[in-house]
């Protein structure tokens, strides 16, 4: 990994700050709730030092055996289109991010979350919680089995509907790599009017949040396969300070 040499002899990796060109702005009027939830002062540059280049390396003892399969967490199967979502977690240099916790949560097939605040009249499914966890393997690969989430309405503007999505949360190997995002489905007709999807400034960058349908992982008479790779910030260019004279 790229390293940052300090005069105290502490050598730590520095991470790319390319996420600044990729992440949506915190102040985005199209998404109304950002109005009072974004700082108005400029962010202060924080060098990547020890606390930033380390992060929690959680053990797999956190996992239950069925945490990766959202269709097997209840007595019966949930209603909906059974699907898998799989892919790799990589850094921006193409290196796998192994043994890292991936957490997902989602609405059920009717577009309803099992959350007290979600009260729109899409039916709840007694056989679906909508929460999954897994660890990436040594190659950075992950896989979940679930049902395809439905679109759902929200109050941002008249007739506002979120495109179907699954929330993803990743720790990576360092505090700098922490990422919470949403995975979308290819060709969703709701993309064009969704301010959250469109908050990512460049249409080409938005495509990075869209999974692809995949025949290889589609299983005959069982489930549809979708693939989605997730790329976390990786090493920056090498920076060395001048040593002490």
């Amino acid at each position: 990994m790229t390293e940052y040499q300090t005069q105290s002899g502490i050598v730590v990796p520095a991470y790319t700050r390319e996420n600044k060109e990729v992440d949506p702005p915190l102040d985005y009027p199209g998404y109304r709730s950002t109005e009072f939830r974004h700082p108005q002062n400029p962010l202060v540059l924080l060098p990547h030092m020890l606390t930033e280049v380390t992060g929690p390396l959680l053990g797999e003892s956190r996992l239950g055996p069925l945490d990766y399969d959202l269709t097997k967490q209840h007595e019966e199967e949930p209603i909906g289109q059974r699907m898998s979502i799989s892919g790799r977690v990589l850094d921006s240099d193409g290196r796998p991010v192994p043994n890292t916790l991936v957490e997902i949560w989602q609405a059920n097939a009717s577009g309803r979350y099992r959350h007290v605040v979600d009260d729109w009249p899409g039916p709840l499914d007694p056989n679906f919680t909508g929460v999954g966890r897994c660890f990436t393997d040594s190659e950075g690969s992950y896989r979940f089995v679930t049902i395809k989430p439905g679109a759902y309405p929200w109050k941002n503007h008249h007739n506002a509907w979120r495109p179907a999505h699954i929330h993803f949360s990743l720790f990576g190997r360092a505090f700098t790599q922490r990422l919470v995002t949403q995975m979308y489905f290819p060709g969703d007709p709701l993309f064009s009017e969704d301010p959250i999807f469109n908050s990512v400034p460049d249409p080409k960058l938005r495509e990075r949040m869209v999974s692809s349908f995949d025949w290889d992982t589609t299983e005959d008479h069982w489930l549809l396969g979708f693939k989605w790779d997730i790329v976390l910030r990786g090493p920056d260019a090498v920076v060395f300070e001048e040593p002490h004279a």
Partner: protein, 188 residues
């Protein structure tokens, strides 16, 4: 080496609590740990209203200023009961609480020493990406004065917003996303 473009952030949304809250989430160390304490606070928006759907995550060194991580060039230490990570969603009044021990000082760049500090991620509905701040400790006046981050803040940034206040069972640290008392947030 091939370069891959990083995946953009999206909001954690209003319903993260079904997935991101763990029973042991708030505990960077088990409750009852010697020298363990609570950091309690609340998240406020630009109107001064509490944010009831935020999640606060903390990451820190152990009491010796060490990490259980291979990228610490001093070597990874074994953490048995210390997790370093705590995570808490806010309640209806915007309040959160995490339980931890005070981190030790940590080497910085340029031969400096960083004062004991905790890195903080704040996410919420209405925030399209994470915000990052730090918690410092009020009794560490000398170390805070020499801290490379605190001592190089621009004039517009108030270091006071980064220093917790002592309380009966630990410390208080409020997060103001916007406005007069806006917390200093970092470009990580």
């Amino acid at each position: 080496m091939s370069h891959l473009g990083v995946t953009p952030s999206q909001t954690v949304g209003p319903y993260f609590a079904i997935g991101l809250t763990w029973d042991d989430g708030p505990f960077a160390v088990p409750e009852g740990t010697e020298a363990g304490f609570w950091i309690r606070g609340a998240v406020y928006d630009g109107n001064g209203a509490p944010v009831p759907d935020a999640v606060v995550e903390t990451w820190q060194a152990d009491a010796d200023g060490r990490f259980a991580h291979p990228d610490d060039p001093r070597g990874a230490v074994d953490w048995v009961e210390f997790r370093g990570l705590a995570r808490a969603g806010t309640d209806g009044e915007g309040r959160f609480a995490i339980y931890t021990v005070k981190p030790g000082a940590v080497p910085g760049t340029d031969g400096t020493t960083q004062a004991p500090h905790i890195d903080v991620t704040v996410m919420a509905r209405g925030m399209l990406a994470r915000l990052v701040t730090r918690i410092y400790f009020p009794e560490e006046e000398a170390a805070n004065a020499a801290d490379p981050v605190l001592s190089s803040l621009p004039a517009t940034a108030s270091s006071e917003t980064l220093i917790a206040a002592k309380t009966d069972d630990g410390y208080r640290f409020d997060v103001h996303l916007q406005g007069e008392n806006e917390t200093v947030f970092f470009d990580l």
